[in-house]
């Protein structure tokens, strides 16, 4: 019963859990942002795997569209988080001076 | 016949990639690693593109593959130059 869909869907689940653990535990903000991206990639992989219909069939385009939306949301959130982290560090440095 | 030539070119190209990757992992310092990587990858990709072009048997696809090769060579050369320059600068400041 092992199919390409199942392999990548399970890999997606593993990446999701791996990223979740990192997002909760990584000591640095940048690491957490990385982890959230890995976790998101896991969910995306789950969706793309679900859409796959074998080498002959046409894949279901709906999950592809969802993932495209998800990728763009992820990059927006990443950019915002990094900008906030940079601003916070500036404020902390000012406070230290 | 074309298939045999194409496939063997692809395999030789993959071999160059493999050699480049091993060089990246095994060579002692940054500059020699860069050397191994750029040379092997440029040649490997060229052979790969050529082989795939022959396999496809379509001059338009071949042209596209050739353009890809050119682009990667240009970008790769510039990137290697930047990395090497950065490395040298760091050594100077040390």
């Amino acid at each position: 019963m092992l199919s390409s869909s199942l392999i990548f869907a399970l890999t997606g689940v593993a990446l999701f859990a791996l990223g979740l653990r990192g997002a909760l535990l990584h000591p640095a903000l940048l690491g957490r942002v990385l982890a959230i991206n890995v976790s998101g990639a896991g969910v995306f992989m789950l969706l793309v795997a679900l859409a796959y219909r074998g080498p002959a069939g046409n894949p279901d385009p709906l999950p592809h569209a969802l993932v495209l939306t998800g990728i763009v949301v992820a990059v927006s959130a990443t950019a915002l988080a990094l900008a906030m982290g940079r601003r916070l560090r500036q404020l902390e440095e000012q406070a230290d001076d | 016949m074309n298939d045999v030539i194409g496939l063997s070119l692809v395999f030789i190209g993959v071999g160059f990639f493999l050699a480049g990757s091993i060089g990246l992992l095994r060579l002692p310092d940054l500059l020699s690693r860069l050397h191994a990587l750029t040379k092997a990858d440029n040649l490997g990709l060229g052979l790969l593109a050529l082989g795939l072009g022959i396999l496809a048997g379509d001059w338009l696809i071949g042209l596209k593959l050739f353009l890809i090769w050119l682009l990667v060579m240009g970008a790769g050369a510039a990137a290697a130059h930047l990395i090497a320059g950065q490395a040298l600068r760091r050594e100077d400041s040390r």
Binding site: L10, L24, P61 | -
Partner: protein
């Protein structure tokens, strides 16, 4: 028993992507982690292509690996202290969270296997294929994004807008890079027109082949990133007032077309018969500009007018 060659390839890809994901998060050196993450993104693009999702492969390569990578690397440049391992964190107390996520993965895997093996379903593929001729485009992913589920894309552009407004509200831009040396300058002279032309091509071709507004916008943004790396502080963007108009263009185009549909046929975002293709291209063109400016501003990282006068001397653009 002979294992299918595809399955073998899939297993290798799956193990490789897991290893890269793990290594990028486990690395105590964040610079190494970011580099591994970019490789992870490229591998993802490969997997999307393998799973016959070329639209996603394009988007992942440009956005997921490319722009996200550039953002992460520039965050490291701003704060070299980040590379050091350690820092405030919950050391050692997180083992139970690790166990919890492991259990979660187990449960999800079980549920998924249950769904995939015993209850396979075809999703919306047939409904989409049946409605595709009426959608105005022949690339099914574009049809979903800009017609069937255009409302998602509409709100997604609003998400982009919020993110960029947030970044602009937070503070001044990151310091500019030093002017490029001859090699980088030469490269960008060659690459820039190529990127712009490719972006235009992707926008146009999205109607019937892989591509579309997001990939095109991201490529344009990549051109801006290249310009900024080569030392141009404003990344080739127009002035503040024009930027505002460009930022709202995508959402505004959606609203205008949507309202026309609401007044004409009673449903928001309903395209009049025969006009769907052109209206989608109109929305996509506006969205491409908005996405490009948004992502470029995200890379610049703040308000331009307040860039520190004395640029910080950083060793990120040699030559």
């Amino acid at each position: 028993m002979i294992i299918d060659a595809w399955l073998l390839l899939d297993l290798i890809l799956a193990l490789l992507v897991l290893a890269l994901g793990w290594a990028s998060l486990a690395s105590p050196d964040l610079k190494r982690g970011v580099t591994l993450f970019i490789a992870f993104g490229m591998l993802l693009a490969l997997i999307w292509a393998r799973l016959r999702a070329p639209d996603l492969a394009l988007a992942e390569a440009v956005i997921g690996a490319g722009l996200t990578g550039a953002l992460l690397l520039s965050a490291l440049r701003d704060d070299p202290g980040l590379e050091r391992p350690g820092g405030p964190g919950r050391d050692g107390s997180g083992w139970w969270l690790g166990l919890l996520t492991l259990a979660l993965a187990g449960v999800m895997g079980w549920a998924l296997t249950h769904a995939l093996v015993w209850h396979p379903n075809s999703g919306q593929a047939q409904a989409i294929a049946a409605a595709l001729p009426e959608s105005g485009v022949s690339n099914p992913v574009t049809a979903v994004l800009l017609n069937f589920r255009a409302y998602d894309t509409f709100l997604e552009l609003a998400v982009l807008l919020v993110a960029v407004l947030g970044i602009l509200a937070l503070g001044p831009a990151r310091p500019a890079y030093r002017p490029a040396g001859p090699v980088l300058a030469g490269l960008s002279r060659w690459l820039l027109p190529l990127l712009v032309v490719t972006a235009g091509y992707l926008l146009w071709v999205g109607a019937h082949a892989p591509g579309g507004a997001f990939q095109a916008g991201a490529l344009l943004a990549a051109a801006a990133v290249l310009l900024r790396l080569a030392g141009q502080a404003d990344a080739g963007l127009p002035g503040p007032a024009a930027r505002r108009w460009l930022l709202v263009a995508g959402v505004a185009a959606f609203i205008a077309v949507g309202l026309a549909g609401l007044l004409g046929s009673g449903a928001f975002l309903q395209y009049p018969a025969g006009w769907a293709g052109s209206l989608i291209l109109l929305i996509e063109s506006a969205a491409t500009l908005s996405i490009a400016v948004t992502l470029a501003l995200a890379f610049i990282g703040g308000r331009q007018s307040e860039i520190p006068v004395s640029p910080v001397e950083k060793e990120s653009t040699p030559c």
